[in-house]
Each structure stands twice: as structure tokens, then as C-alpha cells.
Symmetry: C2
Subunit: 322 residues, 2 copies
């Protein structure tokens, strides 16, 4: 099988070939080109192509659908950045901050239209099924974002509810990528469901690991300053697990999170997390979803050598600092 | 053929039966229910159903697609109201004002997802074609909104450019409704193109008439206070035609539009429009697009009795005060 970096390069070239930087009107397409230039790991299209190759399908024919998934992901970033009032993404101003909310909304809508059109570039006998998977996925992602915003105003979110939120917000798209890869190869329902379960659990493991890295990671490897989540008082897996403990330490955690944003808050909250051993339980949780993902993809009956890429992706995304 | 009001009632009932007010999460669906409760003429689904009936198709089977077009329309209203910072719509707070921008964006996205799902509720052999018409239409509508926003910052927009903008923003959706109605009846390309031309020109005529009504209409019939466009210094067909004249009166018009918002500005601008005979030329322009629409639908070869509903819709939308 190809290496993940090879898939990512192909995706990058194919994204560029869509030519958004030259499309008209520029007011609509230049922000799309800007957003895509930021790069990223292109994990979603890579996963779709990996699944297609693993099941003996035609990866070139699957490229438009793969690009559609990447465009969908980027569309959600454009809209999320408006909703979350985010200034930067990948060390650059967000489309929202650079071009304003109206452009971020409308270029996002346009990107979604492009995604829908690309994902429809599949054989006639697959069109309805792929469209349905894509449509359900989109609804799941919106529900996830809705819950995420709701949780910011609530103090009683359970770890289970948090996991369900990230399953919807992050897992559903990765699940749909793997599932559509299988669909394009004519895999049966059982295999498609297993592929979806792989992607969903990969997404959950990735998000929990990301929460851990934001507090306990290494700034150089992580690519963002450490402690950002604490400074923004974000409801992460760490914080929600801590609050759910209901102990004296949980009370201390709540108070620490209300300290003025800055070094003192970051250090105090981190210390309480450590005291509560949340760093360990967080990594354990990530590992358990990673294991679920592996079990799911193994259940497809793929031979071992074809499982390698799926394992590698899991290691890379959910164990970035093991 | 059924009367337009009968179609509208059926659409209203079918929209209600979608049950958005009971769907979960309410944070996502309650705003959709709120937006749809506002009512409206439901012209878009009515036009789709009219076309289906005119060509002998099954209007019940076409209802989901018709509802999809109405949901698409309402999705654009949700997002446009954020982009345009609009407070009220149909005498109620906009979703944006009532629930905030994040909800208006995300519920809008959800509405678009529902629209896409409903529009896919067509026979397998029509799915790709209907999806393509819907997709192209969506892109046209986004381009139209993009131009509309761009025009607000420009002082050199020609009447032709303005018409192209409203063709995209308003005409494309009505055109797609009529075209999809034809597609569902297996009409050939020529007839489908004629139906699209009917819808597009209906949309243009409607928008120009709307511009006229906002200045010269009757508040009771129009349903909005007269002079709103002048008070907001909106680039309407009247203003753009006036500025394009390049005369001394055009200069006066520009100055008058810079008066403080209020009665004095409305009366002065209106007086200049009259002096330039723009009230007449505006109505003539609306009538000419209305005539184009009629010519297009006649070219389908439908017998006279089946043209009645199309004529009635034209009279109602583009000649609301003749």
C-alpha cells in the first residue's frame, strides 16, 4: 500500500488542480483558495483513498469524492470560526478575521456546494447511497457543533456526553470517509459499518489525544502554544472528567479555571489535573477508542498487510506523543 | 389546474408535517421551525408543483422536491440576514436577531442539508440530473448574493449588471423550480430550458417590481413601509438606472441619497425618480421581463388552458399593483 504521505501529496496536487484561486467571482473563491492553502494533514481524503486501495478499488476514480470530503471539512472550519469568533487557524488569520463574517459564511456555503458536487462524481449505481452517507454525516457534524456550543454554557456535561459530541463533530466525518471508500469498492453493509466504526473511533481518539496534548504536549510537536484550552476555559475531556469526579479536587478545579487567564491559571489547573491523575486517564481513554478502531477495521477481514496503513494512521493521530 | 392558493395550502401542510418543531436537538431545529412559521407565499414549491401538473406528472410524488426548494430558499434567508445584519423579516425578529449569528449559521446549514435530502427524493433515473440542476442553482444564488454585497460598495453598477445580479440571486431558484418540475415529468431539454427561462424571468420581473413597490407602492398592499430602500440607500433598479443616466439629475440623485435618512430623503429621492421618469421605465422593465417569461412558457407548446396558472403567477408576482 502507498504511504500516507504519498496520498497526502496526491490530494494536495488534486486540490490545487481544482483551481479555486482563478475562479470567478474572486470575492467568493479567493477565500476558499486561501483556506485550502493553509495545508493540513488531509487525513479525511487520505482515509477515503486508503480504504479504496485496501479493498482493491480505483483510487484515481475515487479522488473527486475524496476531495469532496476535504472541502466539506474546510467548509465547517469557515463556519465554525465565525460561530466561535476565532482569530487564527494554523498560525494565520481565519477567513472570518481576514475577510469578515459575510464572506466566511458565503464562501463556506460555496465550498459546501463544491463538496456536494465532487462527492456526486461517483458511478450511477453508487450515487444515492454515497449521497445518503454524506447527508447523514453532515447532519451529525452540525449536531456535534450545536452540542459543542451548548456545552460551553453548561456545567453538568458528563464524559459520555462529551464523547458523543466529539463522535458527531469529529468522528462522523472520518467515519463517512472510510465508509464511502468501502462503498465505492462494493463492500457489503457489514464491512461498510466496520469501516465507519474505524473512522468514528479514530476521530474520538484523535480528539481526546488533542485535548491531552493541549495541556501536556510539547509546543514544538503540537504546533500550538500549550495551555490554550485552559486559557480559554474550554470544556475538554480533561476538565469534564475532572468535574464529573465531584470531589474536593473538582471544586478546586472549578475555582482554578476562574483565575484570570494566564500562566497562573494554566499552571494551577494543570497541577490539579495531575493530582487527579487525569493525564493518565485521558490517555487511557484515547487508547481505548484507538483499540476500538483497530478492532473494527480488523473485523473487515482484510489481510494483515492491508491493515498496516490503518494502524499507522491510528498511531499517528491518536498517539502523537507516545 | 389547481389554483395557486390550493398548492400553497398543500405545501404549508406538508412543511408542517416535516415536524421541525419536535426534532432534536431543539437548538438546531427550533429556529428552523420559527423561520418556516413566518409563512410566505411559498411561490417556489408552488411553481415546481404547477410545472409537474401542467406536464401531467404526479404532484404528490413531487412534493418532497418542492419542499426541498422552499427549504433552500429559507436557508438563504437565514444566512443572508446574518450577512446583511437584518433585524426583521415579515414583521418579526430574524432568526439571526432572535437566536444570534451562530445559531442562524448552523440552523441554516442544517436547513440546507434537509433541502438536499428532500430534493434527492426523486426516482433513481432522475437523481443525478435533479442534483446537478439544484447544485448549479445553489452556486448561482451564492454568486448573486456575493454581487449584491459587492454592489453596495460600488457606485458604477450598470442596470445590466444589476439585472444579472437579480437573475442569479432571485431568478436562478425560480428557474430551477420550474426546470425540476419539467425534469420530473421527463420533459426534453428544450422544454426544460424554456421552463427555466420562465422562472428566471419571473424572478427578475418580480424583483424589479419589488424595487418599484418599495418607493411607489401602497404600504397596505406591499406589507412593508414605503421608502425603506431609500432610507437604507439601497442600490435598487431605480437608483442604478438613475445614476446610469449620467445627467445633472443623476448628480442631484446622488446628493439627495446622502441626506440624513428620514422623510426628507425619501421625498426628495422619490421626486427626482419621478422627474427622471424612472417610475415609468422601471415598470416597463418589469413588464418586459414578464413578457419574456410568458414567451418562454408558451414555447413549451402547452395548450392554453395549461398556461393559465403560469400567467396568473406572473400577474400576481410582477404586476402586484397594475
Amino acid at each position: 500500500m502507498k504511504r500516507i504521505s504519498e496520498y497526502a501529496s496526491e490530494v494536495e496536487a488534486a486540490l490545487l488542480a481544482l483551481g479555486f484561486s482563478e475562479r470567478h467571482p474572486a470575492s467568493l473563491y479567493a477565500p476558499i483558495a486561501y483556506a485550502l492553502e493553509a495545508g493540513g494533514k488531509r487525513i479525511r481524503p487520505v482515509l477515503l483513498l486508503m480504504a479504496v486501495e485496501a479493498f482493491g478499488g480505483d483510487t484515481s476514480a475515487a479522488m473527486p469524492a475524496a476531495l469532496g470530503m476535504e472541502l466539506f471539512h474546510n467548509f465547517t472550519l469557515l463556519h465554525d470560526d465565525v460561530m466561535d469568533d476565532s482569530d487564527t487557524r494554523r498560525n494565520r488569520p481565519t477567513v472570518y478575521r481576514k475577510y469578515g463574517a459575510p464572506v466566511a459564511i458565503l464562501s463556506g456555503d460555496t465550498m459546501l456546494g463544491e463538496a456536494q458536487s465532487l462527492i456526486s462524481n461517483v458511478p450511477d449505481d453508487k450515487l444515492r447511497h454515497v449521497g445518503e452517507v454524506f447527508g447523514r454525516m453532515a447532519m451529525d457534524v452540525y449536531k456535534g457543533q450545536s452540542l459543542d456550543m451548548e456545552f460551553e454554557h453548561r456545567d453538568d456535561v458528563t464524559p459520555e456526553q462529551y464523547v458523543e459530541m466529539i463522535r458527531l463533530k469529529t468522528g462522523a466525518l472520518l467515519g463517512a470517509c472510510a465508509e464511502i471508500g468501502g462503498l465505492l469498492c462494493g463492500c457489503d453493509d457489514k464491512v461498510c459499518a466496520a469501516l465507519r466504526a474505524y473512522g468514528e473511533n479514530l476521530g474520538i481518539a484523535f480528539q481526546i489525544e488533542d485535548d491531552w496534548l493541549d495541556t501536556f504536549g510539547d509546543a514544538a510537536t503540537f504546533g500550538k502554544p500549550i495551555g490554550g484550552d485552559i486559557n480559554q476555559a474550554k470544556k475538554t475531556f480533561l476538565y469534564i472528567s475532572g468535574m464529573a469526579a465531584g470531589t474536593e479536587e473538582a471544586k478546586a478545579l472549578r475555582i482554578a479555571m476562574e483565575l484570570p487567564a494566564g500562566d497562573m491559571r494554566v499552571r494551577t489547573v494543570t497541577r490539579i489535573y495531575e493530582k487527579m491523575r487525569l493525564d493518565e486517564s485521558c490517555r487511557k481513554a484515547a487508547a481505548s477508542y484507538s483499540a476500538k478502531a483497530l478492532k473494527a477495521v480488523k473485523s473487515t477481514g482484510l489481510p494483515d498487510e492491508r491493515l498496516e496503513a490503518f494502524k499507522y494512521l491510528l498511531d499517528r493521530l491518536s498517539g502523537r506523543k507516545k
